[in-house]
Amino acid sequence: MKILVCISNVPDTTSKINFTGDNKEFDKNGVQFVINPWDEYALTRAIEIKEAKGGTVTVLNVGEADAEPNIRKALAIGADDAIRVNAHPKDAFFVAQQITAVAKENNYDMILMGKESIDYNGFQVHNMVGEMLGIPSVTPAFKLDMVDDSTARLEREIEGGKEVVEVKLPFVASAQQPMSEPRIPNMRGIMTARTKPLAVREPVGAEAKAEYVGYSKPEKKGGVKMIDPENAGELIALLRNEAKVL
């Protein structure tokens, strides 16, 4: 089983988000970057499948050199090798084209991603890649099992329910909780990760279709209005007459 896991390199959830240059660019200053949390579910499930069935897990990031510590972390968790497409991603379409180019050269049996990158909240790269490759994309999936060597069974969430889907390899899927229990790298993993192959390749020519022209932040809340617990019912009146949400 040859599995590709795509990871994005994103600000930790606890980061303060700021912009520079007249609110035209994200300010990376002092921001801690992590593997996109949803991608960890994909990575762990890929490693579990490899452990059960044999094969390889390759991680792929489209990004600049500053993503390498997190690519190494994915290797330490248990991926076998890694590819970084050396580019500053401009939008999701650009990223999807880079992933597709790598996939076309390598005949992966499955391509796993996270449900959504928590920086740009696109929820789209997986479906774009599936469409570009002409293979099914099952997103967002919270369960993934092999039925036999050529078929996988997935459960995906739809609003108000779930669908059980069986697909032939190859396919694309995106992961969400509780597909797996993300692992923390151990000492041995960290040591071996240093020597695992990390190939850097240049991007294929691809256009972006969305141009990010500026950023803003939500208005600050006006502060909290406290209500006496003895008169808790008053809250309901305030929600109707003041906040006008009931």
């Binding site: 599936g130 069974r153 808790a232 009931l246």
Partner: protein, 326 residues
Amino acid sequence: MSVLVFVEGLNGEIKKSSLEAAAYGSQVAQTLGTSATAVAIGEVHEEALAKLGEQGISKVLYDADSRLNQFVADAYVKVIAKAAQQESAKVLVFANSNIGAAVGSKLAVRLNGSLATNVTTLPKTDGGQFVVTRGVFSGKAFADVALTSDVKIIAVKKNAFEVSSNGGSTAAVEKLSADLADADFAAAPKETVMQDTDGGILLPEAEIVVSGGRGLKGPENWHLVEDLAKALGAATACSKPVSDLDWRPHHEHVGQTGITVSPNLYIAIGISGAIQHLAGVNSSKVIVVINKDPEAPFFKAADYGIVGDAFDVVPKLIEAAKALDK
């Protein structure tokens, strides 16, 4: 040229998030001086389709192929692409749902279009540009994005646009057939299992959400959350530890690793307000926090707060909510 809106059905009716997308699409059409058409698939009542006129939709294309009653991405894409071609649509509008975003992404590839998901504003079109604002960094910021391709595809954030309720005109419903082949259904689901939504309110679409955390001590106390939700016409949700402990099902878990909600009102009971929880609820319009600890971090993100024991406070809220005239 026209604007095409894809509307999703549920139990024969059109989902609220799709009505919002329809209202959005007709406003875009107005700005561009054209009309808005909707495309519907699967099991939707004819009256529900005609009622899209209330949202400003002039025409509805409807493919009643019963194989489309469950979601099959390839087949849906084919039907919508056919409608887009027939209508020479340059702007396609979807709800930012699991289904809407999936078909929108695939169509962006197929139609070579620019896609923006999680969109919170109408487009600004001055100077020949087409710029929309979308939520980024998990509710912590917004980005303005120029969609530069000829075809523009927009997935509208849930609960960011008002559904119009002015009665008014009905839309003309026309049959559409995309001549689907068996191959289009190759990845059809084996099985579709819908949750028992009891009152019919889906959490991702709800205008009001009542949510419980570990402070409620155990599943046997969830009647507090449920009764308040019922009295307010709300959906119920929970924090991650609550679903990890199996007190509540996983699909109710909101936050960084669960679903994101953006209701008009989010009521958090016995939830501390960890940053990972806030990531899933911070774009709610009004947040109410009920917690016995005055230092709970959630109060910093709240609009209204009550410091008190949930077991004393919530019954009072239920009583007051029941007394409201609807």
